[in-house]
């Protein structure tokens, strides 16, 4: 298999999968009057991926998906599906099928008629149509409901009809527009697993648009984080979370503590970073490659921070992989939110900076029993922090 052409260097260079791309956006720009909805996006999606376009509303993710489906035409750039140029092809001539946000189940047709509609458009003979509709109904676990009218179905069932309707055509790519946003929380979780199962089973490439980071992290094999029409970072969910490329990504995916800093020592096996906001110098177990003259940010996830008792003159703890006196800072607990599976602590440092710490509630009562206004040591391991240059 050939690798992605050099034209789409920036996006696909990050964790580009070895498989050949089924979808390629080449310098795609979309303007609506004076508004630039999508700004020079280049992106390759490999066959079989479950790809998520993630971002806040208005970031251009839906426009990108609609251009892929053929409902919008790019102002500039090219869209290739399976190596062929589909930039200007109408929606009915594309090997992709979409699951709409409202599901858009045809209200005047039965479930079976809905699913058969696409096959009828393709001129599939009636006998084969029946067999494939039955197969699709089984795939989404709606056996026996083929004669129902859409208004007799629950929201979750309607979504399955929309899925079956898209899958029955055996498209190269299935597009999902906020597939779970119209469902209540409990159902959302069930269907999340089901979508994942379906993707594994049919082996078709899925491209999903979502504003829900949990949904993207749970479902996608790879995510693109979008912001103001551009791609911020394209990576696996774990890489997005653990190795964000910028403050925007770190902030959008999960929550994060950000400290402004400046590199003081940068060796290949460790680095020292001054953090004036925390009043200490942080120790990092790897080099940063950042110039000592530029400002950087240190990002530390709340669950990667530790709390230790500080009352009665207890000495500062030593963090794993860190020389004594680094990565530990004194603070006071100002607020505690008990969330059941975990608790979130708001800690004020001596400098006034607020830091969030998450501790899982591993036992049914907290052995250490941190409480309001308690003086604590706040610390993190040498590998816990990510250095952000922008």
């Amino acid at each position: 298999m050939t690798t992605a052409p050099s034209a789409l260097a920036p996006a696909s260079a990050v964790a580009a999968p070895a498989a050949r791309p089924i979808i390629e956006f080449r310098h795609v720009t979309k303007r609506f009057g004076p508004v630039v909805a999508v700004d020079d996006v280049s992106l390759a999606i490999a066959e079989g991926e479950f790809f998520a376009l993630l971002g806040p509303s208005g970031c251009g993710k839906t426009t990108l998906l609609r251009m892929l489906a053929g409902f919008e035409t790019p102002t500039r750039g090219q869209i290739l599906i399976d190596g062929e140029d589909y930039t200007r092809a109408p929606p009915n001539r594309r090997p992709v099928n979409m699951v709409f946000q409202s599901y858009a189940v045809f209200p005047h047709m039965s479930v079976s008629e809905n699913i058969a509609y696409g096959l009828r458009m393709d001129g599939v003979p009636a006998a084969e149509r029946r067999a494939r509709v039955a197969e699709a109904l089984a795939l989404v676990q709606l056996e026996g409901l083929g004669d129902r009218r859409p208004d007799q179905l629950s929201g979750g069932q309607r979504q399955r009809v929309a899925l079956a309707r898209a899958l029955v055509k055996r498209p190269r790519v299935v597009l999902l527009d906020e597939p779970l946003s119209a469902l209540d929380a409990k159902l959302r979780e069930d269907l999340r697993f089901e979508l994942s199962r379906l993707h594994d089973r049919v082996g078709i490439t899925f491209v999903m648009v979502t504003h829900d980071q949990d949904e993207a992290l749970a479902l996608a094999t790879r995510c693109a984080v979008m912001h103001k029409g551009g791609l911020l970072q394209v990576a696996t969910p774990a890489d997005l979370y653990e190795f964000p490329s910028s403050r925007l990504v770190a902030d959008f995916i999960g929550s994060v503590n950000l400290f402004e800093g400046r590199v003081r020592v940068d060796e290949s096996d460790h680095a020292l970073i001054d953090l004036p906001e925390a009043g200490i110098t942080a120790w990092l177990d790897h080099g940063t490659g950042a110039s000592e003259t530029v400002q950087i940010w240190l990002a530390i996830r709340p669950e990667k921070m530790e709390l230790h008792k500080r009352g009665t003159g207890a000495p500062p703890p030593v963090m794993e992989g860190t020389p004594e006196g680094h990565n530990v800072v004194a603070g006071t607990i100002t607020d505690i939110a008990y969330l059941g599976s975990e608790s979130v602590y708001a800690v004020r440092l001596a400098t006034g900076k607020m830091v969030r710490v998450i501790r899982p509630n591993l036992t049914r009562w907290d052995q250490e029993d941190f409480t309001w206004d308690e003086p604590v040591w706040l610390g993190w391991h040498a590998e816990a922090a990510a250095v952000l240059l922008q």
Binding site: G70, P91, N92, F100, G118, R165
Partner: protein
């Protein structure tokens, strides 16, 4: 609902006698003349004001009146053609206003609804001038073609009504349903026929009945566009009334009334069903 607990139920108001009295008075005012008209059409007398016994003779006389029957035929044909054309034009206008965003959209939309508010007499005079000056209709075309001006005039003032009804229905259409059809392989026409039109069906039926009724009982505009050989039913009735109100006219009016009421009732019923379906 934030109505105070001690407020009377809506139904309670109708149980108070002054209100009932007003209600009865309004009812009489509205329907008594019509009732008299219908009753007198069965009167066995040449006098329209004195009751002499039940008879169907005026209806028999109607059926024997060749001119009147011809006028009724004209009216039904005109109403049928006007309904078809108005339905087509009105639906296309509604879809165009819904589908496309273009400069001057508001102006075009207002232009389409203008014939609804323009006084009929103005429309009538305008049509008269139009068919004498701008599009002179040949006089010797023979029967069905001679009805052309009336049909054109009717379509011009009726299709905006259809457009209004269809536009209202389009507001509740989920655009994603049409996109889904396109996505599943339907061309633009196919998606329109398979997905948009079924949604519009109740409004098309209601619009058609409305159009038929409007055309059937229109007098003013028809009067200005009718020629000597193209008399419609209402125009014929008018010419008969000029020589005095006979029980025969009562009978004609009853027939027309029945037709109109029937069609209106069907239109309302269809709209009510559509409304129920819209509700979740």
């Amino acid at each position: 609902m934030t109505r105070p607990a001690n407020a009377p139920d809506l139904l309670d108001y109708s149980r108070r006698w002054p209100l009932r009295l007003v209600l009865a008075a309004v009812g009489l005012f509205l329907y008594l003349p019509l009732l008299v008209l219908v009753v007198m059409s069965f009167n066995d007398s040449r006098q329209t004001t004195v009751w002499r016994g039940f008879s169907l003779r005026w209806y028999e006389k109607l059926a024997g009146n060749a001119e009147l029957v011809a006028a009724l035929g004209n009216s039904l044909l005109i109403a049928g053609l006007s309904t078809l054309l108005s339905l087509l034009l009105g639906t296309l206008a509604a879809i165009a206003l819904w589908r496309f965003r273009f400069p001057g959209l508001g102006l075009v939309a207002a232009g389409f609804t203008l014939p609804i508010v323009v006084p009929e007499i103005c429309m009538g005079v305008a049509m008269l001038i139009f068919f004498t000056r701008i599009l002179p209709w040949p006089q010797d075309l023979g029967w069905p073609l001679a009805l052309g001006p009336i049909v054109i005039a009717h379509v011009a003032f009726i299709f905006p009504f259809v457009a209004v009804v269809v536009r209202a229905r389009l507001q509740s259409f989920n655009r994603e349903a049409e996109e889904a059809a396109r996505d599943l392989g339907a061309g633009p026409w196919r998606a329109l026929v398979d997905i948009v039109l079924p949604h519009l069906k109740p409004s098309l039926i209601a619009g058609a009945l409305l159009a038929f009724t409007l055309s059937l009982d229109d007098f003013v505009i028809t009067f200005f566009t009718a020629g000597p050989d193209t008399i419609t039913f209402p125009v014929k009735v008018y010419s008969m009334v000029r020589f005095g109100v006979t029980p025969e006219v009562n009978a004609i009016s009853t027939v027309l009334l029945l037709l109109t009421v029937l069609l209106t009732a069907v239109a309302l019923r269809v709209q009510a069903i559509a409304g129920e379906r819209l509700a979740p």
